[in-house]
């Protein structure tokens, strides 16, 4: 085979994959639109998410520099302050995997596989010329650049300390933040002033205010989990002001409480649009996710960045703590408090059941599920671990478990 034919085949594969991705997305959107709780205020978020599957078009659509970032530890505020748009490298498309099977091992984390596939399916998209930021979280993320053979020069690693509660790691992470700031300044070729950072923090603070109202609605089981996932997923692709406005409009809708559904807590691996299979199944088994601990959903905002004063150092420090100490990533070694946060939500929201979602191949969450299961069970909560990936074939199996889980929760409810 000549390189030419290989290239041709690759192009064909690219086209096919891209087409499949589009179809998958459209199917999912159509499914949402057909739901009885569909409201039109969700449309802007779906529009934003459409671009999340096509970085190439995303780049053309925005009129500023695009920086791709994995994971949630790189502060969004800093990107906003530098006036670059962030493109979060997390893909939930099943179809996108087709491209990636060439370069990744079989038992790869589905999200990594899908993201790789999504990037490779773009034509006229030179990966080596994209700016990327990697916080070094799990092994997949750390090795990702090498796996995809990207150019080193355009990427920036943020060496995430795997401890949070000691001082050295805090200081280390602050230094990482300053180096990210420097890197961003080099990209946009102008300095980021403290006013820029302050404005960005303010903007995200506004967003958090709306977001906390959204969470309130969610605790009352008024909004659909799928909608919530769509809104939170859109955050990392949208302009924050726009997102705030759209969310502000969304929460104005008079939602009704869904009385018969049982509230549950969802934890575990990220759920990324269009792969909202688990959420759909949970809703189908008349349960509702009233709270979650997932980095692509409720925990994209662990809380507002509280700063002591408006000096650059204080703002940076606030950001660094907010993205380091409050982070729920299972790759941290001292993660006991993550459970605390969960338990508090469970207690306040009177939620009795926890569903732990593990993507097959996502080892940190798999490990954490064991720790969490033991702790939660001793505290008297029901725990259901569901290990799955982007495929749809195990839906029946999952539904059986979800329904039985619902039965057990119902029994608790009856007893109390």
């Amino acid at each position: 085979m000549t390189p030419n034919t290989v290239n041709k085949r690759l192009q064909q594969l690219q086209h096919k994959t891209k087409h499949q991705i589009c179809i998958e997305f459209e199917d999912q959107v159509e499914l949402i639109r057909q739901q009885p709780d569909y409201i039109s205020e969700i449309e802007p978020f779906l529009n934003v998410l459409k671009y999340s599957l096509h970085p190439c078009e995303f780049q053309q659509q925005i009129n500023s520099t695009m920086v791709m970032a994995l994971c949630i530890q790189a502060p969004l505020e800093l990107f906003h302050a530098a006036r670059v748009r962030i493109f979060k490298l997390a893909c939930g498309s099943f179809a996108a995997r087709n491209m990636a099977t060439r370069s990744l091992p079989a038992l790869t984390c589905p999200m990594i596989k899908s993201s790789t596939g999504m990037l490779q399916s773009q034509n006229n998209f030179d990966l080596n010329r994209q700016y990327m930021v990697f916080p070094t979280t799990c092994d997949w993320v750390v090795k990702w650049r090498e796996l995809t053979g990207m150019d080193k020069r355009q990427t920036h690693y943020m060496d995430l300390p795997h401890l949070r509660e000691n001082e050295q790691s805090s200081n280390k992470w602050l230094e990482e933040l300053y180096s990210l700031k420097k890197w961003l300044e080099a990209i946009v070729k102008k300095s980021i002033t403290r006013k820029d950072i302050f404005k960005a923090i303010k903007a995200y603070m506004d967003a958090f205010r709306i977001f906390s109202k959204l969470i309130e609605l969610r605790r009352q089981q008024r909004i659909s989990s799928v909608h919530f996932a769509v809104i939170t997923n859109a955050l990392t692709y949208d302009n924050i002001e726009n997102w705030t406005a759209c969310t502000g409009r969304y929460i104005l809708y008079p939602f009704h409480e869904k009385k018969e559904s049982i509230p549950i807590f969802l934890a575990g691996s990220p759920i990324i649009f269009p792969n909202v299979k688990l959420l759909t199944l949970i809703e189908a088994s008349s349960m509702r996710v009233a709270a979650d601990d997932i980095c692509s959903m409720e925990r994209v905002f662990p809380g507002p960045a509280c700063y002591e004063d408006k000096s650059e150092y204080a703002l940076m420090r606030a950001l660094s703590h907010r993205y380091h100490r409050a982070c729920i990533c299972p790759t941290f070694a001292d993660n006991e408090r993550r459970l605390n946060g969960m338990v508090n939500v469970l207690k306040n929201g009177k939620i009795k059941g926890v569903i732990f979602h593990v993507l097959k191949g996502c080892h940190p969450y798999d490990i954490e599920s064991v720790i969490m299961e033991n702790k939660l069970k001793t505290l008297g909560y029901r725990f259901l671990k569901i290990e799955t990936d982007y495929v749809k074939e195990d839906e029946q199996n999952i539904v059986t478990r979800l329904e039985a889980f619902r039965q057990t929760l119902k029994q608790i409810k009856k007893q109390s």
């Binding site: 949070r164 509660e165 001082e167 805090s170 403290r194 603070m205 958090f208 205010r209 906390s212 969470i215 309130e216 662990p302 809380g303 507002p304 509280c306 002591e308 004063d309 408006k310 000096s311 650059e312 150092y313 204080a314 420090r317 606030a318 703590h321 907010r322 380091h324 100490r325 409050a326 006991e336 408090r337 993550r338 605390n340 946060g341 338990v343 508090n344 207690k347 306040n348």
Partner: protein, 310 residues
């Protein structure tokens, strides 16, 4: 909101304690805050001065101290406790005039956008015994004067080096405490030390919020008796997500509240009840100030998100 109320309280208290005498108000000589007696026409006196004085304080001979008359030493202390018990260390954060002075300086720094000095946790732990050393010295030195022929110019040892002594009288138009007293070597040393300390602490206060509180023997004294008071600062450790807001926001950088993993009680030594941490805690009811079990103020995510609207 709470911070605003606190500021109002502090200002009222400041006017009352600095100018109260001129309005005919005097709250006695055993106040658990830095209401400096050197301020002309002040509305109350700091208990630390009484503690060092003769007769009512510890500048007495041992046989006097252990006789029935020794009860006189106890009496101001009882009054002190009467003031202290209902409010506990909230006196510091909410009523102390020197604390307000520090807050003003901090406000200026914040306006100028100069960043705060951050001490490492180790430094904080190292600084901690100082206030107790001072407390012990301010009792021991008067005792030595009365019993072991220590030069009587050592009287009121703490007042002589206290930064409130030169600073607070300025608000009553008295700038005379900035001096060196050449009467003899003891007074010269004390006044020189006082000037150096005042200068150093003033700079410290500028660069570090409530810097003086790290050394304040009054805070140490109140911490010893905190159990007598119904004021409790509690943490629901099961709800703490470890976001670290409390540590960062804390004016005196108390890290124990953030790190505490076992106990409920987090009324730490340096804590003065300013409630900044409660305001900035995103966990619902995780941090709370209680008074006889009644919650004065507790944290919530909603409060935090609304607070930032201002």
């Amino acid at each position: 909101m709470v911070n605003r109320v606190r500021m109002i309280c502090q200002h009222i208290s400041f006017v009352l304690l600095i100018y109260g005498g001129r309005l005919g108000i005097h709250l006695g000589s055993s106040l658990p805050c830095f209401a400096c007696p050197f301020v002309n026409g002040c509305g109350g006196h700091c208990y630390l001065m009484i503690l060092q004085r003769s007769r009512v304080g510890f500048q007495v001979t041992f046989d006097y101290l252990f006789s029935r008359a020794g009860l006189e030493v106890l009496w101001p202390f009882v009054v002190f406790l009467l003031f202290f018990v209902p409010l506990s260390k909230l006196w510091c954060g909410w009523l102390c005039p020197f604390c307000l002075f520090q807050d003003w300086i901090t406000m200026i720094r914040k306006k100028l956008g100069i960043r705060e000095m951050i001490f490492s946790r180790k430094t904080h732990i190292r600084l901690r015994p100082i206030k107790y050393i001072l407390l012990v010295l301010l009792i021991l030195i008067p005792l030595c004067i009365a019993n072991f022929n220590l030069h009587s110019d050592w009287a009121l040892p703490f007042c002589r080096i206290c930064p409130a002594k030169p600073i607070l009288p300025m608000f009553a138009g008295n700038f005379t405490h900035f001096h060196l007293d050449f009467t003899n070597t003891v007074t010269l040393c004390f006044t020189a030390l006082s000037m150096v300390i005042t200068g150093g602490l003033l700079v410290g206060i500028f660069f570090k919020e409530r810097f003086f509180c790290l050394f304040c023997p009054m805070l140490g004294l109140m911490h010893i008796f905190r159990r007598l008071s119904p004021v409790r600062f509690e943490k629901d450790i099961s709800g703490c997500t470890g976001c670290g807001n409390c540590e960062r926001i804390c004016p005196v950088d108390i890290h124990e509240v953030h790190l505490e993993n076992e106990k409920k009680d987090v009324f730490m030594q340096n804590c003065m009840g300013c409630m900044h941490c409660v305001e900035s805690c995103p966990g619902d009811n995780v941090l709370s100030f209680k008074w006889f079990g009644f919650t004065l103020f507790s944290s919530s995510r909603n409060y935090l998100s609304l607070k930032r609207k201002q």
